[in-house]
Symmetry: C2
Subunit: 174 residues, 2 copies
């Protein structure tokens, strides 16, 4: 499953937040401000990533599939597993793989042991594409994060872990 998130260019002022908190007593002002900023920065990062990938004729979904394949020792996986790891439906994965196979970046290989299943393998061209994209991506990401100390990087991951854990409370009734 994919997420559609907006850019939220306009964060609320403290005064507006206070006004909302007055009308809605459940509001936790610092929680809201942190949440909105988190969404905004993440969205900006993803938009920037899209821009970077588009220069290499790639879309984010297909690029992630290539990366997932490269993570495997034998550069191979199956549509179902890839779909699960990427958080998309199997139907969506079929479309992603169609595009990648058409571009010669992956190939479908039939599996005799289980004729329902298909192996997906990163091709040499797929690896070459990653070798072209990843240094660009990593360089930008390094520059983007260069202002953060190791301490801050650890803090960030710890904080995100707490939020992630707290999110189980989101579905407190249903």
């Amino acid at each position: 499953m994919w997420l559609i998130m907006l850019q939220l260019r306009d964060l609320p002022t403290q005064e507006v937040l206070q006004r909302f908190a007055q009308r809605y007593p459940a509001a936790d002002v610092t929680a809201i401000a942190s949440f909105l900023m988190l969404l905004r920065v993440a969205t900006d990062l993803s938009v920037a990533l899209d821009a970077c990938l588009s220069k290499h004729d790639l879309l984010q979904g297909r690029w992630w599939v290539l990366i997932l394949l490269m993570r495997e020792a034998d550069l191979t996986s199956t549509p179902s597993v890839l779909a699960e790891k990427l958080g998309v439906t199997r139907a969506t994965m079929t479309g992603l793989l169609d595009g990648l196979e058409q571009g010669g970046l992956v190939q479908r290989i039939s599996v005799p042991e289980d004729r329902r299943s298909v192996k997906i393998q990163l091709t040499a061209a797929g690896q070459a594409k990653l070798d072209a994209v990843m240094p660009d991506y990593y360089t930008r990401l390094r520059l983007c994060m260069r202002g953060l100390s190791e301490q801050q990087r650890n803090d960030l991951q710890a904080i995100l872990g707490v939020i992630d854990h707290g999110m189980s409370a989101w579905d407190f009734n249903q």
Copy 2:
């Protein structure tokens, strides 16, 4: 402009990250790990938000429009301004407003001074919808963030600010 981001259910192990870093010297392992976790948590939050809103028959885009209107003292704005604040195209805003107007949550009011423009106003029904949704949303958000100390909330916002600032480096050539 909206962002499409995947759920990234499967973060790379330290061992995989090391292997990538060996092939691509530009890689900054802790930067990558922080980045991926940031994307994942933000995506999970947005998916959870979608689920919450859907119980009130709302989609995220339309809901943000209602909030933007409620932030205004006169509960009024224009399609162009709303589109800019939300980070979507004006064409997209037309569609969002069509849906909201059809549901009676906003109304279009013609502007005599500039006959090209239209005023968008939150209706009583729109305010009532927000009054139904916001306490639910704020309560969930509070629970979700309850594990974070005030210190951590400040740290998070500071860290996100640094990333946001560093992101100008993303487009270092184009």
